[in-house]
Symmetry: C2
Subunit: 314 residues, 2 copies
């Protein structure tokens, strides 16, 4: 746990004002981590909503204006939009400023953004493993990062001081921070996040396309497993399109493994090999126990979803 | 909503005392639906636990003894164990008794159990779409079925009176009841439950087998999507083995569709077809909205999982 004097940054500029940026604003304010919080978003509607909600001290109409004089600039836009934003702000960045991002893919962001930044600017790529299925400026809240991981993937453009300071900010917002090689990050995320999302999207699409079972049946009877997939598959389409396009290699590799294992289980079903199925399902149960033991999820049944009490009837 | 005088059955016997049976016992007792609740389980440990917890009025050491004089007998064992149990109890059933089950597959249970029951006994297959990832007699609770569906799949062995009475019991435990053709039930469940479970098991298995990413990394960083899969994949291995072996045709059909769609999305990723991905992900988001509108899940972010408050630091 590193602890710098507060506020850690005199001025933080958030570019893109969705779930992550608005949650950062709430968390920085709740913990006194930023002297001033400045915001910019591409669409006038989002800027107006942010202005009304008041989680930034100022909302600017241009990115250039927003980054002027900032110590930390956070790129919180979909991965595919990072390069254009970086190109636009680069000439306006203060000497000694740090640029970071919150993208779910790191190699592609580093390749796109890094070369656009001048030598007097540090670049510390970051990825908070936090989110909900909701998006937009109204969905942020101060405790989103509490007890969640934030992965930093420093490059040769990250000075040790800039990395340490950013770590301190994330810790101040309640996150646990780990440094990781960018390529390894992308593979790990392909396993724990990107491929599961693609699979969930696919399963929901299959249900939608199946003509013998109506959508209303799928919706009514979803409680038996399917609805957990729909939650994952309800995430922001633009963000996820960009994730798959920019983390293509790792996602395709993990998908290949997935298909291989799925075919093995499918064959076991077809051949009636109950022992193989039972052994497989027993092993996966242990991984769940590991996740609960590691404090990464609740052991309360059904995630603690509320089951209404039964009112005794007359 | 049908309403019969209470208690609806003078004596209910539960065979198998896991999550579903123990929840039924709690719910029947809380709502005064059964005059006496009798229980039987195969293993002495389960019987002892049930005895200690006291959710049955009596726990018997043999199934034959447990079913004697019962008005309703509930088979609450894994689908693959139904036939053996039914064969064992058939000679001991009272004339006019009703047998039901709570299996996740209906055609296979009907084919296995139906022929074993004598002409004086009604058989009304049922499937409550409720459960958690926990199993065993300690995991039951009275509100498990509240606002959840229970599907009845009557056959020529189900008299209208027996079906009506069983419907009344499930409604008394808080469930919404729907009748359905057994074959259609098995297909619907293959879509909303069985295939999603197999896919979740597979994804967790892939993560376990991938040598470049350690299990501790998978566990630590699971919050980003993967942990929802592990919850599903933590369900009872014996129950699920039996589901796949006995609902083979429908599961394999839906799996075939799944693979087809997955390959289409995989190809879109490989070819960089962002428009196709975006359109697909937008459509699946609408299905999630339908599920929330239908009251089948909470719209609270992240299922309402508790995010600890950020303590302001000095």
């Amino acid at each position: 746990m590193t602890s710098l004097p507060k506020p850690i940054y005199a001025r933080v500029t958030l570019i893109g004002l969705g779930l992550i940026a608005s949650s950062m604003a709430h968390a920085m304010r709740a913990n006194g981590l930023a002297g001033e919080i400045v915001g910019y978003a591409k669409t006038p509607t989002t800027r107006a909503t942010a202005q009304k909600l008041g989680f930034c001290d100022r909302v600017c109409d241009t990115a250039a204006e927003a980054v002027a004089g900032a110590d930390l600039i956070v790129l919180a836009v979909p991965v595919g939009a990072m390069a254009e934003i970086a190109a636009g702000i680069a000439p306006h960045l203060a000497q000694g400023a740090t640029v970071t991002d919150v993208g779910s893919v790191k190699q592609a962001v580093i390749a796109a953004v890094g070369p656009l930044l001048g030598p007097g600017v540090a670049f510390v790529p970051a990825h908070p493993l936090a989110g909900t299925e909701h998006s937009g400026p109204t969905s942020g809240f101060a405790t989103l990062f509490q007890n969640r991981w934030c992965l930093l993937t420093p490059t040769e453009q990250s000075t040790p001081e800039a990395t340490l300071r950013l770590r301190s900010l994330w810790e101040g917002m309640g996150a646990k921070v780990q440094e990781m090689d960018p390529a390894h990050h992308d593979l790990v995320l392909a396993v724990v996040s990107h491929t599961p999302h693609l699979i969930a999207y696919t399963m929901v699409g299959v249900a939608d396309h199946l003509e013998q079972v109506s959508n209303s049946e799928v919706i009514q009877y979803s409680a038996s497993g399917f609805r957990d997939f729909t939650r994952i598959a309800a995430s922001d389409p633009t963000m996820w399109r960009d994730v798959f396009l920019t983390n293509k290699d790792a996602t395709l590799e993990v998908l290949g493994r997935f298909t291989e294992e799925l075919f093995a289980l499918q064959r076991a079903i077809r051949m009636g090999d109950g022992d193989q199925l039972h052994a497989y399902f027993t092993r996966t149960r242990e991984i769940r126990r590991g996740i609960i033991d590691a404090g990464q999820d609740t052991s309360v049944p059904d995630f603690g979803r509320v089951h209404a009490p039964v009112a005794p009837k007359a």
